[in-house]
């Protein structure tokens, strides 16, 4: 029994911490966001150089061969540093699907993801789908040797910068039929593709993408797209949760420090017992979240864990992260008072990333509903 990151994982984490210390102060981050793309291509190249972009990928594909624990380790630090560069969309979503795809030039493309020369995005959600990824109206129809995509995908994370897209599209069945979905790969600038980008509240980028008979390569078995997506969703939930845990730790630290310096009524506000107890509750919410993350990492890497148990653990984790993220975010702002409302302080930005995480691929209610099903439906 051991609930700490390994020495190797700690080295990986520390490399991010050190880089962020030197290159990613809150002001430096803001400067990085002022680039046209909303992030720094130079940083991205550094991420590749330092090997971070290789973490999730198998050694046979030139990757680091990291497990879900390694992914959690780096995401926790990216969360603490509030990195806006599109790590999650590229490594977990696009990269995760690509590696599990049947793309003809998969090895080459993965190599480019790892060396930082290729950015991609996964187009999954649609405007009507809410948190139900099987609700897909975008269609793929056979067009000679190839397929042709039509319809609109929404909230494509990292969409504006993507050179390649992987698209979940319907090849058969009703609009919510899980077995009629397949994955397709195409260039973002292919004919019939129109990308409408917008920033998100956390400073990251997304896009709605219109497909109008765009030519694309089938990169999963026909009807096998949803199964691959579900596999990747396991990583998605862990990665987002780990990032959230990193953010919670940072917000708690910042809040405690602020109350020790802010004076009202002649004393530091950290001396008010009512506020102390609330900060204790924030601390407990963080410790809870971290503990369940660690538990989930152990159980998901244990072959003997049943599918039902894995579903329970993952949905429990995201339910708890959503609940505790909300508590910590709200309290962090409240205890900072007016200062917490300013764009100038980092607090609000951390809170907005936490909130964004709680809107991605499910919210508290939807995860708890799934937990209830996994836990009590038998």
């Amino acid at each position: 029994m051991n609930f700490e990151y390994s020495e190797e994982q700690n080295l990986l984490k520390e490399s991010i911490v050190r880089w962020a210390q030197d290159n990613y102060s809150f002001d430096q981050r803001r400067a990085s966001m002022n680039n046209d793309d909303g992030f720094s291509r130079a940083h991205w190249a550094t991420f590749a150089e330092l090997g971070w972009l290789s973490v999730p990928f198998a050694e046979e594909h030139g990757g680091y061969g990291g497990s879900v624990i390694d992914i959690a380790a780096i995401m926790q630090e990216f969360g603490k540093a509030l990195v806006v560069e599109p790590v999650f969309p590229n490594l977990v979503l696009f990269g995760g699907l690509l590696e599990r795809s049947t793309a003809s030039n998969k090895a080459e493309l993965l190599g480019q993801v790892i060396d930082g020369s290729l950015m991609g995005a996964a187009a999954i959600s649609e405007v009507q789908s809410r948190f139900d990824a099987s609700n897909v109206a975008v269609t793929a129809t056979v067009d000679g040797d190839n397929y042709s995509l039509s319809g609109t995908k929404s909230m494509v994370l990292g969409g504006p910068q993507a050179q390649k897209l992987i698209v979940l599209a319907r090849t058969s069945g009703e609009q919510t039929d899980e077995t009629g979905l397949s994955l397709f790969l195409l260039d973002a600038d292919a004919s019939g593709v129109k990308c409408n980008g917008y920033p998100l509240m956390d400073g990251q980028q997304a896009a709605d993408i219109d497909f109008d008979g765009a030519p694309a390569e089938l990169v999963s078995e026909l009807g096998g797209g949803y199964a691959i997506l579900q596999e990747v969703m396991g990583l998605v939930h862990i990665a987002l949760s780990a990032e959230a845990v990193g953010i919670m730790e940072k917000l708690n630290k910042t809040t405690v420090e602020y109350t020790k310096t802010r004076k009202q009524f002649g004393v530091t506000i950290s001396s008010f017992q009512a506020l102390q107890h609330r900060m204790v509750d924030m601390f407990m919410a963080f410790e809870q979240s971290k503990s369940l993350l660690v538990g989930a990492l152990c159980e998901l890497t244990d072959d003997s864990t049943s599918e039902q148990r894995a579903a329970k653990v993952v949905t429990a984790l995201r339910t708890l992260i959503a609940k505790n993220g909300k508590l910590i975010g709200d309290e962090a702002i409240q205890l900072h008072g007016g200062m917490g409302l300013t764009d100038e302080l980092d607090v609000g930005h951390y809170v907005k990333r936490l909130m964004m995480i709680n809107l991605l691929f499910g919210d508290q209610t939807s995860f708890q509903k799934k937990f209830n099903h996994a836990a009590y439906a038998a």
Partner: protein, 391 residues
Amino acid sequence: MDNSFSSADLEFQKEVRDFFEKEFTADLRARVQDGIDVKSTSVEWQKKLNERGWVATDWPVEYGGTGWTPVQKFIFEAERCAAGAPDVVPFGLKMVAPVIFTFGSDAQKEKFLPRILNSEDWWCQGYSEPGAGSDLAALQTRAVKDGDDYIVSGAKIWTTYAQFADWIFCLVRTGSFDKRQQGISFLLIDMKSEGITVNPIHSIDNYHSLNEVVFDNVRVPAENLIGSEHQGWTYAKALLAHERTSIAAVGDSKSALREIVELAKTQTNANGRLIDDPLFQTRLSNIEIELMALEYMDLRVLASLSSGATPGPEASLLKIKGTEIQQALQELRMQAIGAYAGALRQDEYQNDLHRRGSTARRSYMYGRAATIYGGSNEVQRNVIAKAVLGL
């Protein structure tokens, strides 16, 4: 015990409802919802209200106010919310005007009230300072007498819409006494005065409504002092109690709730409509039930005001519960919308959810202020502990 209106009140209700239906046009509504051109839109709407004689709901008739009973005010407020119309910008009409007509000189009344009534002057509030938030009495901005003028130096913060303002009403320190609440004066300052700098504060809702207002040896005629020197705290406190009675915002929360219900009827996936999801229903009813209770809390206070009572610490209770409910609704609205609640507008909205999401996020983020300003909810709890429970 009964909650019914008199027939005169019912008639009044109809009159108000008709007014909103006619005057709060679709065009105005769209501009309000988009939150652009705040100043010109508000002024246009307030002028309409003033034409009807309904812009100053809290003023006595003699100064051009409505002279309404508490019940009439309640009806007007409920109809306003039901119509989705905005409240008037409070700084002039609801905040400084009551101080002027209660404690001001005749000259001040003549000079300021008509221009407030007709939305000719835009006012802002200079209370909080960088070192004086919840602890307002710690304020440091100094006003030193120099002949017939005061020389004002210091800084005010969180000043909403200072960028639009013609005038600011300020609490300034004019003397040192044992009690910090003494030696504070209430001063009206022309924003065009030399030495005033307005520094924008961008807030986490990605908007600019807050400011820092810096005073560098600003010369203010002593005739702009309200009442007596050193007595400003008393005037401000009277105003604060006033500010809190409308803060329950029951009408606005009812509208917000209705909007979420309507939205949740259109959000549909394989499992059916969101509104039929028992977990979502329960999150909604957790709030709606509290809101029903808040409405009757509010009405009970209103009824006691009608029978002549003065606003007391129950205002703190309405503020705490009112803002907690507002924030809970803001959160649930984002959840009902889903990921689009995190999407900012770029060139245009991608679709209606994107548009709704943008509004929802903005009100969530800015809504965090509600539990902080006007005396934070922590301070309100201290007030109840002391004034009601005797702790």
